[in-house]
């Protein structure tokens, strides 16, 4: 269980998350959604232990995150930042092996497993600069998987991917959740959250606006209140599309 208790996060002198209490269970895909500036990325960093709480706490299976050693925290929580720029143009397998840094072993079977799971074995020696956008996103996720974290915390992993690659990456994340890992990802596309998440957390100006199964958390009323947009869901459950009809 990854939980926050009356959490407040401050970045750049501004409180970006206020009084947030959440309890997220592993084995599910959790989508963090909200308008720009709602605090989604900050919350994800807070859950990853990268921003110290100004108030309240984040805990992992009952242990306060701030009390864990950086290594123990790094082994449990895999964080995939939104910005995937790499300083050096390394080969795919070198990138993926970086995921083993918290464990201190570079030749591990976990690297092979991560390369295999994301269909990267044939690209393992290719420099990252020579990958397509979809291959690159897979390689960056494989780096997180190679660390065998209990939780995968991904900031907009589907941004900049076309439809087919979005679905392929979602299938990988689903497999991780089915295998018992916790998956939390920031999403902008509400239809992806509606159709693919098990649990949706809606943030608005740093506060919890709604949470629950997608159909309960992402109602047209919530969308109107949080995003200030009139919108309607069309289509059957699991294949719903959101049509926005204008500003209220």
């Amino acid at each position: 269980m990854l939980a926050t208790e009356d959490l407040a996060l401050v970045r750049g002198g501004r409180e970006v998350i206020s009084g947030l209490s959440l309890a997220l269970a592993p084995g599910r895909i959790v989508a963090l959604v909200g308008p720009n500036g709602a605090g989604k990325s900050s919350l994800l960093m807070g859950l990853a232990g990268l921003i110290a709480p100004a108030r309240g706490s984040v805990s992992l299976d009952g242990e306060v995150l701030a009390g864990l050693s950086p290594k123990a925290r790094a082994r449990a929580l895999g964080y995939l930042p939104q910005e995937g720029a790499l300083a050096w143009d390394v080969a795919v397998e070198v990138l993926v092996a970086l995921g083993r840094l918290p464990w201190g072993d570079r030749g591990s079977a976990a690297i092979e497993a991560a390369l295999g799971a994301l269909d990267l074995l044939h690209l393992r020696r290719r420099p990252v600069s020579a990958l397509s956008g979809g291959e690159r996103a897979r390689a960056l996720l494989a780096r997180v998987l190679a660390g065998e974290p209990r939780w995968i915390l991904a900031d907009e992993p589907l941004a900049a991917l076309d439809l087919a690659h979005q679905l392929a990456l979602l299938a990988h994340l689903r497999a991780c959740a089915d295998a018992g890992q916790g998956v939390v990802m920031v999403l902008h596309d509400l239809a992806l959250a509606m159709n693919h998440a098990d649990h949706v957390v809606v943030l608005d100006e740093g506060r919890l606006a709604a949470q629950g199964p997608p159909a309960e958390a992402l109602t047209e009323e919530v969308i109107a209140r949080v995003w200030s947009v009139r919108a309607h869901w069309l289509g059957p459950p699991g294949a719903r599309a959101l049509v926005s009809t204008g500003l209220p």
């Binding site: 921003i51 050096w88 080969a91």
Partner: protein
């Protein structure tokens, strides 16, 4: 040992004997040497070669570490305040020396240069080590602050050094300072080797401790911290490692620029490009570059020997320009 390390170790095995032969007089097993050949070898050329190896290794490793830390292949340890601070300390010794007892006067220059480097390290750690860790990035983040603090120190030390030059007590001191600032290995003895070698080796050992964290930085600051990197510990390792290697180099040889910039560049394509794979081969390649350059300035047919620092800058500056051109085309 990696392929790149082996290659540069082999190059060194070739260069070291060659550099012992090279100089004003040729000393070779096959030729009739001067009567004092053994003395020249033991007291002049061997310590000079050893010092070139030590300094080159330190500057090469420091450059590789700095480029890894700043995630930028155009970073040079000389840009970040420690070398100019060490030089300022050395220049101050030209004033301090007449005031010191004779026994201490000989140590005034390296001692004050090391003190300057230490002061620079402390200032860097104090300014950049207290940066906020709210992950907001920008100028408040550790690495950006470190760079800016380094540039501030470098310009302050440069200004004070220039002031010291304009206020030189006499023309002799003036020419001595200016000459000294352009690094060289001329007339160095085992004394300088004994001073610099332990410090440089300790510095390289500290930088090697930072290697896994530098690898993690490949993914950016936030991802590196999520992999368990302690940003403050990394900054401290870097400051101490670069301070020891660069400070010791400046203390015994003056300012020798561009080695830390050029060497990691030449070595990187031979490795998997991670900073950890770059440190040891860069140390070996740095040693080879400084040794080769110093041997070359010895045999150039000039009236006075070309200063090593000037020679390396003459090679380094165009190389830097070449890197900029390459970067403009998006190839770096």
């Amino acid at each position: 040992m990696s392929r790149a390390s082996l290659a540069f170790a082999a190059l060194l095995a070739l260069l070291v004997p060659l550099s012992l032969l090279a100089g004003r007089v040729l000393i070779a097993p096959w030729a009739e040497g001067p009567a004092n050949a053994a003395l020249i070898l033991a007291e002049l050329r061997a310590p000079r070669a050893a010092l070139a190896l030590v300094i080159g290794a330190g500057l090469g490793a420091a450059g590789a570490a700095m480029q890894g830390y700043l995630r930028n292949s155009l970073a040079d340890p000389g840009l970040f305040g420690i070398a100019p601070m060490a030089a300022l300390g050395a220049v101050a010794s030209f004033w301090a020396r007449p005031l010191l007892p004779a026994a201490l006067a000989d140590w005034a220059l390296p001692g004050l240069a090391l003190a300057g480097a230490g002061l620079g390290m402390a200032a860097l750690a104090l300014i950049a080590g207290r940066s906020t860790s709210d992950g907001a990035g920008g100028a408040g983040s550790g690495i950006a602050l470190f760079t800016l603090a380094g540039l501030m120190l470098a310009s302050l030390a440069g200004a004070l050094t220039a002031l010291a030059i304009t206020l030189a007590p006499n023309a002799f001191a003036l020419s001595e300072i200016v000459l000294w600032l352009n690094g060289a290995l001329t007339d160095r003895s085992w004394r300088e080797v004994a001073l610099a070698a332990p410090l440089v080796l300790a510095g390289i050992a500290v930088l090697l401790r930072a290697a896994p964290a530098l690898d993690a930085l490949t993914l950016g600051e936030a991802a590196a911290r999520s992999l368990g990197v302690d940003a403050r510990r990394l900054l401290l390792l870097l400051v101490v490692g670069v301070g020891l290697t660069v400070g010791a180099s400046v203390a015994v040889a003056g300012i020798i620029g561009f080695v830390g910039l050029i060497v990691p560049h030449l070595v990187r394509p031979l490795t998997d490009r991670l900073p950890s794979s770059l440190l040891v081969p860069s140390a070996l390649a740095g040693a080879a570059l400084v040794l080769a350059a110093d041997s070359l300035v010895r045999i150039l047919p000039l009236v006075t020997e070309l200063r090593l620092g000037i020679a390396l800058s003459l090679i380094g500056a165009p190389f830097f320009g070449y890197l900029l051109m390459k970067m403009r085309r998006g190839l770096v």
